[in-house]
């Protein structure tokens, strides 16, 4: 039984071991009902009913196994599924964008893997995904190699033998040290904020009571301790979550594909075809930046930003690892670490004015309140708002930059969510040059290189217009020549 392509290939069943897996997963789904049945059965002494309860999920599992067949022909992958509602899924081989392997703990015990074939369509319904659940691990890996090799016909075309596996070159591997960065992902800030937000009113109410000596049990120390405990638990949850998702992370290049393997319990293996790898995004949200960490995602043609989990090249990890990884993926260090051109004084001015305008409602409200008789201490709030706005603006000014480095359009911007994006010239499929009246007056524009993956574009914020045009000219020679102002 090979997964090799044969014209008019026969329909195949999935691995018979799924007869074991399906009942177990169905049993888990039916667990509440089953417990109810067993309890009821035990109480009324009707034992056989409980057995029937077990029989239903087992039967469903068998039906799923018997009714699911698939085949791989020279041109298409096809999947048939369902007893009452038949699903016939079929996709041309050349539309395959990604091939993922996943294995839950049950799958892993039995040596199985689920093959998920991504075609870049925006299907969210689980029923309509091309999912082979499951095949023996080696067979799934071989089928993946075959599906990816169709995209890159190397050697003699149409050979039936499974391609010889190219050696794997590991670029990044999980290290326990990475766990340090788990709490610094953006999410933990939200959690901390929520804890503080919930804690502050509590503290206030406590302040009132502490003035009464008999309620000393609610001393600030106790409250502080409680807060710390909550924070510690949150951090622990994040570390465990990080470990479960990213444990055993490996990024490796094999032939013409990048493989990302990760997951402590459920193994997940994503493959990104090199020809579809348009670029990379290095994210450095403020918290992660403070911890000297970075996160890297790939920009993959045909994969939208919403399918982010399929494009992870590196979870939050040390900056040096992120730089080395991105360098390996892009094939050059320049787009990753090369110097960027700053956008000049007028772009900086825009950051300052926007920050100050942004915090002006707070200032106005505070001033009006104080004028109306609120305690003058409130003015501190206005000062704090202005200080935060100015700090953000200064950081945003520092971040602004662009460049054309080693055949990549590179852009960096943002403060709280700073990122540096690099997009290979060959994957630029158009340019958007947007300028409001204010921007035009300052001689600036926002240039976006459009592409068929990720967010659909890599935007260069508030760049002087001649430099925007120069960047576009360098990245796509000839495209703009007809539209330039005559000299």
């Amino acid at each position: 039984m090979t997964a090799g392509p044969v014209p008019e290939a026969p329909w195949q069943r999935l691995d018979p071991r799924m007869l074991l897996v399906h009942p177990i997963t169905e049993l888990v789904k039916f667990l509440p009902v089953l417990i109810g049945l067993v309890v009821a059965g035990g109480a009324s002494g009707t034992g056989p009913w409980a057995l029937l309860g077990v029989g239903v999920p087992v039967g469903l599992g068998v039906v799923r196994y018997v009714t699911t067949t698939y085949r791989v022909t020279t041109a298409r992958v096809e999947l048939r599924r369902g007893l009452l509602q038949r699903h016939n899924l079929s996709t041309p081989l050349d539309r395959v964008r990604t091939v993922d392997l996943t294995a839950s703990p049950i799958h892993r015990v039995l040596g199985l893997a689920t093959l998920v074939i991504g075609t870049g369509s925006v299907v969210t319904d689980d029923d309509d995904r091309l999912l082979l659940d499951a095949l023996p691990r080696e067979q799934a890996a071989a089928l993946r190699t075959h599906l990816l090799s169709v995209l890159h016909p190397v050697g003699e075309a149409g050979s039936d033998a499974p391609a010889v596996l190219a050696p794997e070159h590991v670029v990044a591997r999980f290290s326990p040290q990475w766990l340090w960065y788990a709490p610094f992902s953006g999410a933990v800030l939200v959690a901390a904020g929520a804890v503080l937000g919930a804690g502050a009113p509590l503290l206030e109410s406590v302040d009132l009571r502490v003035s009464e000596d008999d309620l000393a049990i609610f001393s600030p120390a106790v409250i502080l301790g409680l807060g710390l405990a909550v924070l510690l638990v949150t951090v622990a949850l994040f570390v465990v979550g990080y470990l479960v998702v990213n444990g055993g992370f490996v990024l490796a290049r094999q032939g013409a594909a990048w493989h990302v393997r990760r997951g402590l319990l459920t193994h997940r293996e994503t493959s990104i075809d090199v020809a579809r790898l348009a670029g990379a995004t290095i994210s450095e949200p403020a918290a992660l930046r403070l911890a000297r960490g970075r996160r890297v995602n790939a920009i993959v043609t045909g994969l939208r930003g919403s399918q982010e989990s399929s494009t992870v090249l590196l979870p939050p990890a040390p900056q040096a690892t992120a730089i080395a990884t991105t360098t390996a993926v892009l094939g050059s260090a320049e787009p990753v670490t090369g110097p960027l051109r700053s956008h000049g004084r007028k772009a900086a001015t825009r950051r300052w004015t926007r920050a100050l305008l942004g915090c002006s409602p707070v200032v106005v409200a505070v001033v009006v309140a104080v004028a109306a008789g609120a305690p003058p201490a409130l003015l501190g709030l206005a000062v704090a708002a202005v200080a935060v706005a100015l700090a953000l603006a200064a950081d945003r000014v520092r971040a602004l930059g662009h460049g054309h480095l080693a055949g990549h359009v590179v852009a960096r911007s943002g403060s709280v969510l700073r990122r540096r994006e690099a997009l290979a010239d060959a994957h630029v499929i158009g340019w958007n040059l947007r300028a409001t009246w204010f921007q035009r007056r300052a001689g600036l524009a926002t240039l976006a290189a459009t592409t068929a993956g990720g967010d659909g574009q890599v935007a260069v914020l508030d760049v002087p217009e001649p430099e925007a045009v120069a960047l576009a000219l360098a990245a796509t020679p000839g495209l703009l020549d007809d539209f330039l102002e005559p000299r």
Partner: protein
Amino acid sequence: MNQLRDPAHRVSPRARTMWQLEAAVEAAVAVLAGGIASVVWVPGPWRWLLLGVLVVVSVASALVVPRWRYQVHRWEVSPTAVYTQRGWWARERRIAPMSRVQTVDFAQGPLARLFGLATVTVTTASAAGPLQIEGLDRDVALGLVDELTRKADLVEGDAT
């Protein structure tokens, strides 16, 4: 100095008339709704001040925006690329190489049909927005669709 020039062609002058009609209707609706709301909810002299501001803003934007829009909206097709410019306060120029064009759409709303106008939309594989030319003369639009389809067909590949 590298500077992009404006695309060569303006859209049909009838587009300006159409936009003026649209803007006038919108302004009338805004004034009417605002008028009723302020008569019902706003007391005393504030009512007339608010209404006055509403009328001035509506009339001014109905007068200015369509003209401004007509000044900005332009398009051009070279042998290798499509170049469009649209908007008014925010001006957006978009350039797509012919080799990346995926679909060319021709659309006519009821009002546009009345004015003999049409909208041509050129999409690429990017999610970041198609190139759109509004207010083209119907025959020009049809010719453009023809030309673009022919040129895009000449290029091989899946345009990603």
